[in-house]
């Protein structure tokens, strides 16, 4: 277990290496070895349904090999991503009992692989998480709700979980910020991608302008149908609109300081990033403002670098993650974080 005063430690989610893994250039073992070689740890996050064949079933042999592999490379299991596959039948969502069982199986796998945190999704629902808590306590695995754009610490759905957490007051219930929700603009990586696809410039402009317009704090997803309707009314093709609306689901504009409100309940962080300016700063997500909030707030835990660029290009993730961690180390050193040099 991590010492309680270890500060903000870096790591990486293997999701950042989706291109390498999907193309079969790297096996899971090779990804982990490369992460160690490039010093991109010590924290490791995996997505269960991606990294583990047969998940949520994990064989004894797989679990033993996995734990041994991390130990051999001095890496630490930080978090495992769970999925709320509520619509595995697209026409009929799972019942709460089915969803509970689905999450329980994944939580068992999380514990078996040695991960201290299971990252869960909004769709799980407060009822299922409430009923999952005794098992989480028994397995010694924290449940972390990922707060992903367009949601924020005060959005209605997050408030439902905050109320549950206040009532239960358990250290096994926590939050996982995704920094895409603390962005300043739509990443230029997406703008370039849209241009590369040949989307009309006026459609891209409409998306950017609407993204920058005032948000309704009580309805964070409101801009998605609004954008779709306005773009349709302006005569853009449905296929182009479908490509473009995703920016409202990947980036949102919460102020970095807002994370303070839930700081003591944060159990893990997704250091989302896409693209850098020439000076090495992230071009849409202001890490210079975000990281000091966590250092000053006394956050103890991992922030894993999460590059989602496989969505946009065929580049590998290793060089990108290196660049992200250089940026984060520089910022952490600047705000006197204790771990800035060593990890």
């Amino acid at each position: 277990m991590m010492a309680s005063n270890s500060g903000l430690q870096l790591g990486v989610t293997l999701f950042s290496f989706t291109n390498e893994f999907h193309s079969r250039q790297y096996t899971l073992e090779q990804l982990i070895a490369k992460v160690a070689e490039l010093n991109l740890g010590p924290g490791i996050e995996i997505v269960g349904f991606s990294s583990v064949r047969g998940f949520p079933v994990v064989t004894d042999e797989f679990a033993a090999n996995f734990k041994e592999l991390l130990a051999k490379h001095n890496l630490k299991p930080a978090c495992l991503g769970l999925n709320a596959d509520m619509y595995k039948n697209p026409n009929k969502p799972m019942t709460p009992d089915e969803s509970l069982a689905y999450h329980e199986a994944q939580l068992d796998a999380t514990a078996k692989l040695g991960f201290p945190v299971g990252r869960y999704q909004f769709l799980a629902g407060t009822d299922v998480i409430h009923r999952l808590l005794p098992k989480a306590e028994r397995l010694n695995v924290k449940l972390g709700l990922e707060i992903h754009a367009p949601e924020h610490v005060n959005s209605p759905i997050v408030m439902q979980y905050r109320e549950l957490y206040a009532k239960e007051n358990s250290p096994y219930l926590g939050f996982i910020p995704d920094f895409g929700s603390t962005a300043r603009r739509v990443s230029p990586a997406f703008i370039s991608y849209f241009r590369q696809l040949g989307l009309p410039e006026a459609l891209i402009t409409l998306a950017e302008e609407m993204w920058l317009s005032k948000d309704d704090p009580n309805n964070p997803t409101a801009k998605i149908p609004e954008f779709q309707a306005r773009a349709k009314a302006a005569g853009f093709r449905p296929v182009d609109i479908a490509e473009c609306f995703i920016v409202f689901g990947l980036f949102s504009r919460q102020q970095p300081a807002a994370w303070r409100e839930i700081m003591s309940q944060i159990v893990h962080i997704h250091g989302k990033f896409y693209h850098f300016n020439e000076d090495g700063s992230e071009s849409a997500i202001p890490y210079e403002e975000i990281l000091p909030v966590f250092v000053e707030g006394g956050y103890n835990g991992y922030m894993v670098s999460e590059w989602e660029g496989h969505f946009l290009c065929d580049d590998g993730g290793f060089a990108k993650v290196q660049k992200h961690q250089e940026l984060c180390r520089r910022i952490l050193a600047g705000c006197g974080a204790q771990n800035a040099v060593t990890s």
Partner: protein
Amino acid sequence: MLQTKLIAENGLRATSTGFDVEVRLPWYRGLPLSTVEIGDVVLNGEAINPASVSIEVNGKTRLPGDLATLYDERWYVLDSAMLHVSHSELKRGEQYDVAVSVNLRPPYIPGLTWAVKDAKRLTANS
């Protein structure tokens, strides 16, 4: 861009009953087969009759329409599936334009249908 990885490189094979196309799941994690819909298969501009297509995944061959109820069987992200197509024979060593489309409905993103179309010029292998 996983969208361009749907048809595997070098993924066309001539068979005695037509041809096979090797396809990959264009998503970062394994998905229930019930959330995968096989769309069009096109060879040199000829739209293949859906009744002539079957899909082999996890060692089993089924009709594309049969995937819809396989809620608890997943297509793992590293595995290929094979589309078996009944067709007149292809000439081995010749190049063909192959196009395939699939719709994915990731079960944790309600309402999203991820439409993927891929087209590649491939040599028919033995």
